[in-house]
Symmetry: C2
Subunit: 196 residues, 2 copies
Amino acid sequence: MSRLPAAKRREQLLDKAAKLFAKRGYAGTTTAQLAKAAGITEPILYRHFDSKRDLFIALIDRTGDDVIRGWEEQLGEAGSSAHEIRLLLGGNPMISDRGRGIYRVIVQGLTEIDDREIRKAIKRHIARLHAFLVKRIREARTSGQLVARADPELIAWLLMHLALGYGLIAPLGVPGHSKDASGDHILRLLSRLLTG
Amino acid sequence: MSRLPAAKRREQLLDKAAKLFAKRGYAGTTTAQLAKAAGITEPILYRHFDSKRDLFIALIDRTGDDVIRGWEEQLGEAGSSAHEIRLLLGGNPMISDRGRGIYRVIVQGLTEIDDREIRKAIKRHIARLHAFLVKRIREARTSGQLVARADPELIAWLLMHLALGYGLIAPLGVPGHSKDASGDHILRLLSRLLTG
DNA sequence: CTCTCTTGCAAGTGACTGCTAACATGTCGG
DNA sequence: CCGACATGTTAGCAGTCACTTGCAAGAGAG
């Protein structure tokens, strides 16, 4: 019913799509559901995106922007590097509840290995996050706050692997898992490893 | 054409299903594809499994058996605990190429959060692997080979998170990732952390 | 006020989905 | 060698999929 200018509708569509794709997966989400969630009909969806896949890729790219912007804001307030490293761990998007919802979209894309274009978008996204982490870790090291001898590239991958794994298992509610809210134990363990 | 006894056909169906589900995802794989891959028609598939979902759950359970059996074989040959810990890391199913194929099925299930029964099967599987790891880590500790002070439960989760994350990112072929075959750098880093 | 351009919708497209009923055929114990 | 039962197939069900065609209607510019 309510008419929206094209740009707003597009953003709203991506918002709703994020939730649906996170919940049902890429293949499991229908264009009818996507349209309905945005309060429109399917032809409108196809006016904004060439295809369901096109929408999904746009969502992946936007998610990358959001995550990096979020990190930069957090790190901006962090003051000194010891605190910053903790934020790098805790701010890893899949560790917070907020981030996890967003990030399930990425994981859905990660498992969609059959589609070349989607794979390319995910690869872009992962490489981007990794580069950002490496830069931050290098800075922390030259300022003397990080004593780990390991390769910053490797540390960054380690962080990403952990965050991905944690974020995948946490929502299952396996009894012994995440006894602590937001994976605090793991953060402590890693902090000890990385900052000596 | 070739007639097979029910038990063999069932196993063969699960074999083919593992590859298809890993490649196309649960929702993305059709029963027609599953049947064709096994060289039969759909009604035969439904004689062995009540539904597509039922087949998927059977596959998850069988995968759990396979993984734990594989671990036990490897650990049996390991001799002493220092070597054993390295195997626990290296034998983590998503780190080897062979295991990764199998394990993508689990990840597919992990993202299929909308289906209660599938979630339950995945939860069962994850809890089982975790319990196995915890037992081994405890043994390694009492025999004095593992000096890490951290909670064995936590270490086991750490291993699983890492393996999951690594196994998800590795097949993407992101330039800096897995420069070393089979994640050797990460193993070294972890070995240092866990065995002092 | 009206012209025009954008935003919206109802109704359908053929192809494909998971799944089934009804019938055929190979194989093995007696 | 034959009857019986397990293993197989053909043809098709109703429902859903991603995507389209053709037409209505709100709103800003002149």
